[in-house]
Amino acid sequence: MMASSLRWARSLPLSARIGLAFVIFWLAVALVGPMLAPYPVGAFVDYDVFDGMSSQYWLGSDYLGRDVLSRLLSGARYTVGLAAAAALLASATGTALALTAAVGGAKVDEPLSRFMDTLISIPSKILSLVLVAAFGSSLSLLLLIAAITYVPGNYRIARALAVNLAQMDYVQVARARGEGRIHLALTEILPNMIHPLLADFGLRFVFIVLLLSGLSFLGLGVQPPDADLGSLVRENISGLGEGAPAILMPAIAIASLTVSVNLLIDGLKGKRP
């Protein structure tokens, strides 16, 4: 198992291997990071604000004299956790609806697709802003809003895949055999579209990380005392004039996460024949 996954990783292009390393790193940070934090998240530990990097405060201190590294480790958990959950919810919902459309016939497919086309013609940031204004932005609502925003994109891709597969001979045979629609969707169609769907999941994850940190940056996302990486950029914006690590590090952290997922997906795409 270990050896085969190592061999698999080695077969990837360099950029994808770097991406994979960063993805694993950020997943690990999200899982155990807060336990490794040198200081409590909310504690005021430094008398100076916007300190530079030092051996005591590896990434400096923030606008209230809190340790940036500790806050970053805990912020990463919010960013990665929320985005992964929202991407999973969006992909599961989008794919479930797509499968329903593919096996349900024109009566289900047409209204559903029309509705999704409508949602997709609202730019994602605009849709999420309207949703935030209507619902508010608690953690669970943010998760839901990010998921709703990216369901249509997943639906469009999953439906295209599923409709193609539904016309294949083996599915027609299964249908003629008298298999039910649920069986057709789950055991005949779904297993054959799982690879492109995984790549799409990665993309949704990237979009949602960017969306949620964008919302937090605007002050409309994760609310204090909780803070994701976007909130960290926002709260330290006054340190921009000094080039404080408190504002740059969280922003770079987000970029390293999203860029590495992108590189990984790109590398995987090139691998498939």
């Binding site: 509705f115 013609s121 940031k125 949703l131 964008g214 950029v233 921009l240 987000i254 590189l263």
Partner: protein, 326 residues
């Protein structure tokens, strides 16, 4: 091809384009339904919001009646939609003036920002995309691929903060806050708008260059290009004379799609630079829960997006003889 078939082909293309236009209008109508419905989900309503918690039920009921909130939802929707079409989307709750006035003071700024960004981004993206395609598989191409792939995933505020850090803080070339007012000279305006334009351009160029490269490479694999190369046409001439006329439609398509990405990017960039445009107005509307203003802004953004998509599709229809023949 005879003259007659060209004329009928053009007619077909116009019919297709007309159909596409009608479908955009239908989508815009459905979008307005979605936006209105979401905005109605607000727990409590504008009347309670305006009067605050100390208001009595009678006061709320009176204001609700005055604002027309006691009418059934479909009636309110129709009067809102009618107002939008007539250019009167209602009264802004926070600014206490007509939404149309608030928006008309901001919209030109946003359009100017978009135009300047397109002016900077399109030539640069075209050069990067074509250069990258000509060097396909080479070192420059791979480097550009990694670079643009990364830039697509970088949050706008990182680009913006880095730009401020380099150009305002370290080099002190440009102001970090963009203020636009009527009595500013063009020079002052351009200096102020330089940072937002730069940031938006960097974000859009990455997207555009990738799509341009894909469009050019798609043409490069065609037999007629192979023919041109085999008969000894210089590479630059192959690209400009043979490939470009055929790739122009997909490229315009790519430009329109990437410019639509600008709509979302503007939300962050206008806010971070305090640029008085429509996107930062919309963010304010969200914070203050000014629903009439928010709905109007959302509809403008959606209309802009649909127009860009329409341009993308219609160029594809007009430029593709096979699509026309169908």
């Amino acid at each position: 091809m005879t003259g007659g078939s060209t004329a009928s082909g053009l007619k077909m293309a116009l019919i297709l384009a007309g159909k596409r236009f009608a479908s955009s209008l239908l989508t815009l109508f459905l979008v307005s339904l979605v936006v209105f419905t979401i905005a109605q989900l607000l727990p409590g309503d504008a009347a309670e919001e305006t009067l605050g918690q100390s208001a009595t039920t009678q006061q709320i009921a009176a204001l609700r009646h005055e604002m027309g909130l006691d009418r059934p939802a479909h009636e309110r929707y129709l009067s809102w939609l009618g107002g939008m079409i007539m250019g009167d989307p209602g009264q802004s709750l926070v600014a206490n003036m007509p939404v149309s006035e608030v928006i008309s003071s901001r919209l030109p700024n946003s359009l100017l920002l978009a135009a300047l960004t397109a002016l900077v981004a399109v030539p640069v993206a075209l050069s990067i995309g074509i250069g990258s395609a000509m060097n396909r598989g080479g070192r420059i191409d791979r480097a550009l691929n990694i670079f643009t792939l990364s830039m697509v995933a970088v949050p706008e505020f990182l680009v913006a903060t880095l730009a401020v850090l380099v150009f305002s803080v370290k080099l002190r070339w440009l102001p970090s806050i963009a203020l636009a007012s009527d009595d500013m000279s063009w020079g002052e305006y351009l200096r102020g708008a330089a940072m937002p334009v730069l940031t938006l351009s960097i974000i859009v160029i990455a997207q555009m260059a990738r799509m341009t490269r894909a469009a050019v490479i798609d043409q490069m694999d065609r037999p007629y290009v192979e023919m041109a190369v085999l008969k000894g046409v210089a590479p630059i001439r192959v690209v400009l004379r043979h490939i470009m006329p055929n790739a122009i439609a997909p490229i315009v398509n790519a430009m329109a799609l990437s410019l639509s990405y600008l709509l979302g990017g503007a939300v962050i960039v206008e806010t971070i630079f305090n640029y008085p445009g429509l996107a930062s107005l919309m963010v304010n509307a969200v914070t203050s829960r000014d629903m009439p203003l928010l709905q109007a802004c959302a509809m403008i953004f959606c209309a802009a997006y649909l127009i860009l998509m329409l341009i993308a599709d219609v160029t594809a229809i007009l430029a593709n003889p096979r699509l026309r023949a169908q």
